[in-house]
Structure formats: C-alpha cells, structure tokens
Subunit: 186 residues, 2 copies
DNA sequence: CATAAGTTTCAGTAATTTCTGAAACTTTGG
DNA sequence: CCAAAGTTTCAGAAATTACTGAAACTTATG
C-alpha cells in the first residue's frame, strides 16, 4: 500500500482540512485513502499507507463508523475487517449533513426549547425574545431539511440543478403566501 | 454586567458547543452574550460577564469580526469600541454559511480542480475518476448555493417555508429534465 | 482448549490550541 | 508634547486533544 503522488496529495489535503471539518488529521487521511480506493482496505493497509500507529487507525476507523461514512465489509476467506466508503457521492453528502446536524444543531435545538419554556423575568425579556426567534428560525430550517432529506436522490439533484427555474416558481408564490417579516422597509 | 441565570445557561451552552462549531469556548461565549444583548457592549462588559482575561476577549472579538458575525459600533461620546450582532437572524445565517463555505469547502474545491487537471497514470485512473466526480458534485452544490445566496431574504424564506409545495414542482420538472444519473447515460 | 491472527483499550507522551498577564502600542484631548 | 484611556500583542502557562506502544482481549480453527 504505497501511495502514489496523486493519492498523497489528496490524502494530505484531507488531513490538513480535518481540523476545519472537526475531525482529527488521521481520521481525515483514513477517509481519503478509502475514498480513493477501488477495493476495500483493512486497517493494516491504512497503517502502511499513512505511516501511523495501528491503534490510531483503529480509533480513526471507529470514529468514521460513528459518523456512518465508512462501512465494514467482510472479504471472503479473510478474517480481517475491511472497510469501504459508499460509491454514491450523494449518499455520502446526505450522511455528512445528517451527522453534522445531529452534532452541531440538535443539541442547541434542545437547549433553545428548554430556555424558551422558562417564564422570563423582566430583565430577560429581550433575551427570551431572541431565543424564541432563534428557535423558530432553526426549526424552520430543520423542517425544510427534513422534507428534502426524504426526497429520492434523483429528485433532490434535479432540484439542485434547477437553480434559476426554482427562482421563478418562488417569485410567483411569494406574492400569494403571507410572509412573516419585518414589514417591507423600502 | 452580571449575567442572569437565563443568560448564563445560554452562554455556557454556546461555550460548550464552540468546539463542535470550530470556535474556541470564549469566542462562542462572547457571541452568545452579544446575541442576547439589547444594547451594544464593549470588551470590558464581556470580561466582566464571562470572567476571562481582557486579551482573551480581545482576540475572541477579532475572530468574530473575521467571521463577519459581530459588528463594531461607536457610541456617541464614548471612546471605547462597542460591538453588536445583526438583529436580522437570516442575515446571520447567510453570513455563517458563507464563511463556513469559505473555510471548509473552497480550499478543497481548489485542490480538487488542481488534481483533476493532472493527467493520471494508469494506477491513478480510479482515484482520478473519484476526484472528478467529487469535484463535479461540489461545484453543483456551490452553484446552487450561489444562486440562492443572491435571493432576497424574503424569497429565500418563502422557499424554505414552501417545503411540500416545492416537491410537487420538482416532481413535475423531473420528468421533463434529463437527469444525469447512474442508470441513465447521455 | 490452545494457538494464532486479528482487534481494542489504555496509560503515558507529544502536539496543538486556548488563555493569561504584562508590556507595548494607539489615539484623543489638554 | 504629555497624560489618560483604551486596545493589541506576545511569551509562556494551562488545558485539551491526538497519538503511540504495549498489554489485554476476542474469535476462528486445528
């Protein structure tokens, strides 16, 4: 499992981006190697490819599995665990969004719901209003997300590719739908 | 600037979530305090409210400004710098998405473009294909994002609230538009 | 049940990131 | 130009997170 220069370039980039994406360097690199690989790989393949410790790879693979973005695969006649990444990239995107929502949004949604419940004292009136507004906004967005997430990939992609056409449809409906906004200011 | 229990609860949550959101604890807490505040606050208000060092607040405010999510405000007859968060939450969301795209996606887009350019050796053929596919996918998504980002907030929100109605429109168009997918070639 | 092939755990170390406090710097008004 | 009020910088301390290597554990097979 020596990596070609092409592979290395990609893999190192994923390692560097890791910290921005909220994952450890090795986790990003493991993912990158699996992403580029035609065939399923075992932990030792990754150790060799990346030159990191076996335990590091083991933990990184666990994390990737926790994220649901690598899959365990068993190879006929081999006792070792092998891993792959789904072929379908839209599937990958879906999972990534879902998992990030789970980690980065859902806990806050819960907290906002709780805070909103509390009967605010005089001094907290403004803050309570802000919390309420934020909670409503996030619910609106996650509601939209939930609807999209149930679409078949084909339709979702169709929509994404639609772009400008979508705009026109919205433009038409916007006149009809009552909008909740800070009164037209101009 | 003593924080009420209500404020504290919110602020501590933002601090804890910070690491998941890719910001330091104090950065998250500063933002939270500003978010809940009716009036603009100066650095020392935050020092007092959070019990952290002046320099920490200073750096945190710089980071928040780098993210474009707090604004410098000058108060009549006061030499100090004051800070606020935009009132309009959709504005905040736009900025957040824009900045995260800049940090988490754009560098990878550049890298993928470069890798795609390279003429792949025999051994890199599969990997090169994966890179190409990933590049196409991200361009499709950022293209869609660019279009949406130019919509006025009113229309954007109208669209998000539309949900189910949007589905029907897509369903109709999907039959008409040629879809690029695994099963259907050219 | 013994062994070998493989995986996981964990205590300690290394690396990185965040935070502090003091010093340096900037700006305004006299 | 000086003094006062404010802001920024930065070297080192503290805290957190990532990584290693060795030991413990698991499981398939003779």
């Amino acid at each position: 499992m020596q990596l070609s220069d092409f592979h290395k370039d990609f893999v190192l980039h994923f390692g560097e981006m890791g910290s921005r994406w909220g994952i450890a360097r090795t986790v990003g690199q493991c993912y990158a190697v699996l992403f580029l690989s035609d065939a399923p790989l075992c932990a030792d393949d990754l150790v060799e490819a990346l030159g990191v410790s076996r335990s590091n790879v083991s933990i990184s693979l666990k994390e990737l599995q926790a994220w649901n973005i690598v899959r365990l695969r068993h190879v006929q006649g081999d006792r070792r665990d092998f891993f792959t990444v789904p072929e379908d990239m839209w599937e990958i995107v879906r999972t990534l969004v879902e998992e990030r929502k789970k980690r980065e949004i859902d806990p806050t949604l819960t907290k906002l719901r709780d805070l909103r419940m509390a009967e605010p004292s005089e001094a907290d009136a403004y803050a309570h209003g802000r919390v309420t507004e934020l909670h409503d906004l996030i619910e609106t967005m996650t509601g939209f997300y939930d609807e999209l997430s149930h679409l078949e990939t084909e339709r979702l992609v169709a929509m994404i590719r639609m772009g400008a056409k979508l705009k026109k449809f919205i433009a038409g409906s916007a006149k009809v739908l009552p909008l909740k906004s800070k009164t037209t200011e101009g």
